[in-house]
Symmetry: C2
Subunit: 190 residues, 2 copies
């Protein structure tokens, strides 16, 4: 038996998610999270750089997964198709975590500080997208523009995904279709 309980990081994440949900983000202290996980405040800060980051820990793996999805996508269509394929590919990982995602989503949306953090994570995701596209030979300008569009698609799709029970690929396809229509010039003015 080891000296400490395992999965320290995961325990902190669980405790934080639970407390943020029960009392709200601002009214839970880091000390409370740590205690609930059977640890001390200092240890919390050894695993997460700040009180918000505990909600965004999986982000690195998430970005890497999407980057791999883009790299593995067929070279048949336009760059945006590779991104759409990569996003759809998240289904295998996310299907069973929808309830968790819902909790997280609700907490983040309720607190401007957390929305700030989410926005910067999405900004870095955009550069991840852009780099993955450039690695496939897409030019820099087109890559960054496509990347930002891809982030928009992901954001809207994810939003609908947590609010429904439909599988992710279905949602992504419909969001992409809507976007295509809009860009094609259906101005939809009154």
């Amino acid at each position: 038996m080891s000296r400490w309980q395992p999965d320290t990081r995961a325990r902190l994440e669980e405790a934080a998610l639970a407390l943020y949900g029960e009392r709200g983000f601002e009214r839970t202290t880091v000390a409370e999270i740590a205690t609930r996980a059977g640890l001390t405040e200092r240890t919390f800060f050894r695993h997460f750089s700040d009180k918000r980051e505990v909600l965004f820990g999986g982000n690195g793996a998430f970005n890497a997964l999407l980057a791999k999805g883009i790299a593995d996508a067929p070279h048949t269509g336009a760059p945006i198709d590779a991104i759409v394929a990569a996003i759809s590919g998240l289904e295998t990982v996310f299907a069973e975590r929808r309830d968790l995602a819902r909790q997280r989503y609700a907490i983040i949306n309720a607190h401007p500080e957390l929305r700030e953090r989410e926005l910067i994570k999405l900004a870095t995701l955009a550069t991840t997208f852009s780099e993955a596209l450039q690695a496939r030979g897409v030019g820099e300008l087109a890559a960054s523009l496509t990347a930002e569009t891809g982030v928009t698609i992901l954001r809207v799709s994810f939003q609908r995904w947590v609010a429904s029970e439909d599988p992710l690929p279905t949602i992504v396809q419909s969001v992409f279709a809507e976007l295509k229509q809009l860009i094609a010039g259906v101005s939809s003015g009154k």
Copy 2:
């Protein structure tokens, strides 16, 4: 003679900009800013909700100006043309503040915390754009998509504006032209 020196808010902004520039954002305390402005820390927090907000104070007026610009734009072209016109219209206000803008820009870019704040300001600007377009009869989906594109144009244009000496309208026009070309299908792949 009044009891206190006038322009408290402006004095705090100046002091903060100077100190952030000299020592960096993290290494200047709010107490130092307040002292340089001849005030106390508590008064700083009566004027700005937190240490970052002092750099974003003019944001409300900025958004309002852009909203008015959209409302006043001619109804001849597409919705995006109204946004482009509104952005170009900023020239009259910003022409003489380019050096100030440069300082601010450098400080914000050097600190992730400040970039977070900027991103959320841009997100609210996007909703401002969207609402202004909807007030002109643009449909909701088209409005929000156009708004986000508008924010992208503003961001890129502003970035080039601080790095050059050209007038804003010229830059906005060329950025818009590039974007049009990209969307029109110049895929620029290898």
